[in-house]
Amino acid sequence: MSEFATGDGVNTKDATLLSVRQLRTWFELRRWGLLKVGDVRAVDGLDFEMRRGEAVAFVGESGCGKSSLARTLLGLYRPTAGSIWIEGEDMAGFDRHQLHLYRRKIGYVQQDPYAALPPFMQVRRILREPLIVHGNRDREDQERKIRAALREVRLEPPETYLTKFPHMLSGGQQQRVVIARALILKPALIIADEPVSMLDASVRVEILNLLRQIQQQRNLTLAFITHDLSTVRYFANRIMVMYAGQIVERAPVDTLLDQPRHPYTQALLEALPDPDPDNAQKIRRLPKGEPPSLVSPPSGCRFHPRCPHAIKGLCEIKPPPEFPIAPEHGAACWLNQPS
């Protein structure tokens, strides 16, 4: 419904790695652990495709459903509705064995590197785990793969790091180990959930450069999840902006950053400072209010209560479909309805 032609016609089918249709992941909200009082609609009707070799950034405020999407794609949460197609196969039909194989195709860099690594395991052991889980019993082959993975994330020479425990490594080095672990099974897709939000500015750039390089060299598909729009320009091809469990705008990176069309995207960009001493002289204009409840989201357009351009009698009643603006650029906002 809201995906656009990629321009290369017949080949699109082969180029598509992942295809997500009307995806919903809701969590039941129970009182006293018993009585169901509603659903948290963390992912609420997503449609998108990811092509082989592209990096797509998913951007949105805290709580908008980014991690829930990641965990649904990983098969850790069962979708409430909709479907996920990977390499032309519907994940819903997978049995346990197929799901196991499917997980192997996806590398996961989870939010918070400090929680991601078991503190009592040496780096060698951390990297060996996924190999063992996926049936590799050949010690020599394991060791070769572990060293290759460390080299790939520039932890060199590997011998220096093999016997280190996580606490002996800097935040950036820990994140490299997390990435090495995500890469070791040669996945087709990497899902990186806020891979750098806990790190310093310089280390962020270092890690994002590394991820992007590996992704391009290996022609991997990368889903880069972040709440920080300023980090995406050089590290993704396309951006999807999420608000309250839905995609509100999608576009190639430069288009989205330079010509945003959804008022929410515009507000997000407006709020983010560049380092500039003049910032201290002005109060920023920000959308009023807070992100909405995902249990009882606003009617119509979910952004309408905070939107400076809301059209009375329309936006609070009818949810906007995604309107095409240009090839690959769409915004779910009535202001973009072709006249």
Binding site: A201, D228, L229, R233, P273, D274, P277, A280
Partner: protein
Amino acid sequence: MVESNNKPLLQVEDLRLHYRSAEGVVRAVDGVDLTIERNQALVLLGESGCGKSSLAKALLRLLPRNVESLAGRAWLDGEEVIGLGEEQFRRRVRWRRIAIVMQAAMNSLNPVVRVGAQVAEPLRVHYGWSRAKALDRAGETFQLVGIPTDFLIRYPFELSGGMRQRAVLAMALAASPELVILDEPTSALDGLTQANIMNVLKRIKQELHTSFLLITHDIATSSEIADQVALMYAGQIVEFSSARDFFRQPAHPYAQALLASVPRLRRKIRPEYIPGQPPSLIAPPAGCRFADRCPHRFERCSECPPMFDRAPGRKIRCWLEAAPSNLDRETP
């Protein structure tokens, strides 16, 4: 503006805070000088682990048990306060004149006490105010930081992250201190919430003329309030400049590299990272602590550079400032 005959609000000289650890003495704060003027915001920038929080804790003497040594001097409005006894310091300085919002404070609110009562509590303890009077004041500070007063009776878990951050800010502001230290007040929050909090701080600064020491590693956000910037590296200040100079013409090679690593939304410049890692604070190099990673390193850098005065109020810890060939750098 501050009149020239006025003393600075806070002046810190040669502050040192060292910790004991199994590996050796950690020189977390290693000879820091700072000045904070009235109604000004000083931003303390630096990478994780460079000693920012330790500096704040030293100023307020909120110290862990394993302190090896605390030394240096600090004048608050002309009165030396590091030499004050703990009792005097607690009664006259901490919270009343210098208040702090600790790193991650929003996550350490008491989960079973209503936020209004948590803001009122110190007023009752320190000032002996009645419950009603303290709650009234809590309501006032809530308004100041932009929380609706009916939130006074809510519990922390009923507040969003941004609202909880405002609540801890309200606690720090309750006694109308002259200086508020904020340790990473926005780093756990997303962009819009961050911008909201920065707006609140700007308003408070305008309306109450409060001074701020804002500690952060978020360079872009720091420019939202900075009048002055102190850049810290491995326990020392390496650049002290006005915000204008720092963000427009950073002088220290580390400052230049750090600013080049910040992604820009409004300009297409590819961010560059700084190769290498900061040195250990247990055995820091004898010379310049940034030398290892510095593109301009030369022989002199094996000695520790002093703070050079580049201009009034602008200090740089770098030998390049001493070399005559570099004097022309002053007028770009």
